[in-house]
Amino acid sequence: MSATTIVSLPDQATARLPKTNYLNNKHGLLSWLLTADHKRIGILYLLSITFFFFIGGAFAGLIRLELLTPQPDLVASDTYNKFFTMHGIVMIFLFLVPSVPAALGNFLVPIMIGAKDLAFPKINLLSWYLYMTAGLFTLATLVLGGVDTGWTFTTPLSTHYLNTHVMTTAIGIFIAGFSSIFTGLNFIVTIHRMRAPGMTWFRMPLFIWSNYAASLLMVLGTPVLAIAIVLVALERTLNIGVFDPAKGGDPLLFQHLFWFYSHPAVYIMILPGMGVISEVMSTFSRKRVFGYTAVAFSSVAIALFGFFVWAHHMFIMGVSNYSALVFSLLTMLVAVPSAIKIFNWAFTMQKGSITFETPMLYAFGFIGLFTIGGLTGVFLGSLGMDVHLTETYFVVAHFHFVMVGGMLMAFLAGVHFWWPKITGRMYPESLSKLAAVVTFVGFNLTFLPQFVLGYLGMPRRYAAYPAEFQVLNVMSTAGATVLGVGYMLPLIYLGWSLKYGAIAGNNPWQATGLEWQIQSPPLTENFLETPIVTQEAYDYEWLEEKMKHEVTHVG
């Protein structure tokens, strides 16, 4: 360990993992599959979303490989269409939406507010089973021969013109939606009802605030997706005609219903990630988050505004000019709370005592990439600019910057940050820093050229393209290779650390927060006695005072 590090590891010669913890108090596969422990369910989620992430990633690799040349020479057009559909569906519904809330949130939300479990442990388990069922349907689609609707299921293409496995996928997404609703419901009730004594709303960690805001979106938004999917299914099977102009239906109605969920879904993905960044920035700067209240309220503001911007996906679809104006204005407004957060994070570092551990590096990556992702979103919210840019690679680059550059960086920051708490062990320091850097470089190489491609006019979802776009596509594919390496590295060394990693101890980062006051890995009950909270979330003065006392006691 270098001199700058704040990691405080127990003496490795004598250190052992705690004798009893949530991982070893019961044995056997059934004890996992029937568990009601939120931490074990978090682990189940972590394993399954990792699995789906690499499936989605494999499709991403195939897409980039196909785009290496202008001709569709790796695969035919319809196979390519199935690739990007699978990539989108798996990444959105099976990775991005559940990643932080269902994996990290499940593990941490009860601990961070001082509760023994979530409000409805069995519903929590059910939500994992629903998620897995959704995953099985998606995998079944894959085995049966795929689907080529794109993840947006645009009608009437999906209802009348495609003969692939639209129904299996639709059922999968419908079920995944319920998993999401249950998780959101569980979080809302838990955060309202089960906070430890003294854990007031404004003493809650910002991770809890952001998960709370995201849960509101899950509960209120997801049913609309379910309705849209049911209507697609009915249109496909019974030909009811709600989206069919020949029967008096309106194909634009589907767009409204779909984006009413799918725009807020972006915030379901990004808000919990923002919570992770708040925790990490504060811990490694050893300071409370700058303007805690503003950051907390900006999460709620993003959630509320997030419901009123969906039609910005339809500026060129013939919505009236005046409704386009309103939706453009609201889109500009929703960008403001994000900007507030970025500056608050940066100023959290001011007058801090900063160290550069792996989670901090990922958080820097997040801030940089999310800033670019957010600002390029302003291009698309601006009406006249959107006309030229929408449906091109500019959009592809923009949302990958937000969701992959932002969300995935935040997820990796969170996984590294809480890895010692979850497993009780540390990961290899230099390798993990290398992975963070490789990911950042690979990401920029992959997606920066796509902004240029987009302004040049290269449309999305093209298996083949005019030859003049090739140079930039080759750059992008090369970057994707580097990015792939960046993602494989953590998989390898985190797996390695499970057995060989140094024992972490209770609070390796010397962080505040209830989760760091208990043993690593935690007991099944989390706390032996209900904690009483007397200080606010990021009170480092209190922590240092406390540690000084502990040192004097030992001395």
Partner: protein, 350 residues
């Protein structure tokens, strides 16, 4: 914006020759590009600002330099600053973008009209003079052109990047886009809305010609029948002229000169008669009963193709008087009447 126009001119020239920017081939393009450069500037400044802050704090307040953190609550003044400044910039972007949007989608009154039908997987353009083209579009330079577009199957989206215009092509309704090309040459037409298997193959080429070359092209590619003439034939063969005779006693309203007027419907509401209304009135007549007429018109849903509807609409648009209706009516009534009038007795013997 503080930059000298000459310098700006050279900057833009250089950028467009650098292969990082598409050609500026329409009157809209320079406006879109100006906003684009502003937004790129905003992104670079914003990202640099955040980057500089993070790097500066990382160096200034790293643990070696600053072993003990000083706790700071926050600062209302600072937070107000970084709320109000981004808000102001975003509002400027909003207004600028909105002005551009209205410029892009409000066609000048003198625009010439070309119809476009999108189908899996081709663009079919129909010029009023009857010229048809597939995955190609010929237009004159320096003249505003409006496209009236419809899809025959799924959503498509008509995009010409070098013109900076794009519009969704939707089943069941006409959408329009206009542009005025500035530089002769050929440019890509892309379908940018995913439309199924050969989405990537739905690429066309727009050829911008000097006006006199365009006239020549029109002459050479004429099919002999204009859209309106095709429409007239269809009008007669579908029996439309039996009711829309233009007479006072007719069962259907007079269609001459109806295009562009305000029509009062049976339910009292007023509608503007445009292409979309005409198309819809043919397909869903029961929802568009003109005041004073009985709801007896049958639907033509499923009986006319989108191309046919375009012909009919174009015919009705161009109908300025009832003379032609009367002529065709006489002929068709004459046909029907012929057997009833035993002039020479020869017809009965046959």
């Amino acid at each position: 914006m503080g930059i000298s126009p000459v310098l700006w001119h050279f900057l833009v020239k250089w950028l467009h020759s650098s292969a990082l920017f598409p050609a500026e081939a329409s009157t809209i393009a320079p406006y879109t590009d100006a906003l684009y450069f502003f937004l790129i500037g905003m992104t670079i400044v914003g990202t640099l600002l955040v980057g500089v802050l993070v790097v500066f704090f990382s160096i200034r307040y790293r643990k070696e330099k600053n072993p003990v953190a000083t706790q700071v609550e926050g600062s209302t003044l600072l937070e107000a600053t970084w709320t109000i400044i981004p808000l102001a910039i975003f509002l400027v972007t909003f207004v600028w973008g909105a002005l551009l949007y209205f410029r892009i989608f409000n066609p000048p009154a003198n625009a010439m009209n070309i119809y476009v039908v999108g189908k899996q997987w081709m663009w079919k353009a129909e010029h009023p003079g009857g010229q048809h083209e597939i995955n190609a579009l010929h237009i004159p330079a320096g003249k505003p052109v409006q496209l009236t577009m419809i899809s025959q199957d799924v959503f498509h989206s008509f995009s010409i990047p070098d013109f900076r215009v794009k519009r969704e092509v939707i089943p069941g309704r006409y959408s329009t886009v206009w542009f005025q090309a500035t530089t002769p040459g050929t440019y890509h037409i892309f379908c940018t809305q995913y439309c199924g298997t050969l989405h990537a193959g739905m690429i066309g080429e727009v050829t911008v010609l000097e006006p006199k070359d365009y006239e020549k092209w029109l002459q050479e590619s004429t099919s002999g029948m204009s859209l309106a003439q095709n429409g007239e034939r269809l009008f007669a063969s579908m029996g439309c002229n039996a009711c829309h005779t233009g007479n006072a006693a007719a069962r259907g309203p007079n269609l001459a000169g109806v295009y562009g007027t305000k029509l009062t419907l049976a339910n009292g509401s007023q509608v503007l008669v445009n292409e979309a209304y005409l198309r819809d009135a043919i397909l869903n007549p029961s929802e568009h009963i003109t005041a004073g007429y009985a709801p007896i018109m049958p639907t033509y849903q499923g009986q006319i193709s989108e191309d046919g509807l375009i012909d009919l609409v174009e015919y009705i648009k161009n109908m300025q008087s009832n003379d032609r209706v009367h002529q065709t009516l006489m002929t068709s009534e004459g046909d029907q009447a012929a057997p009833k009038t035993p002039v020479a007795g020869t017809t009965q013997e046959r």
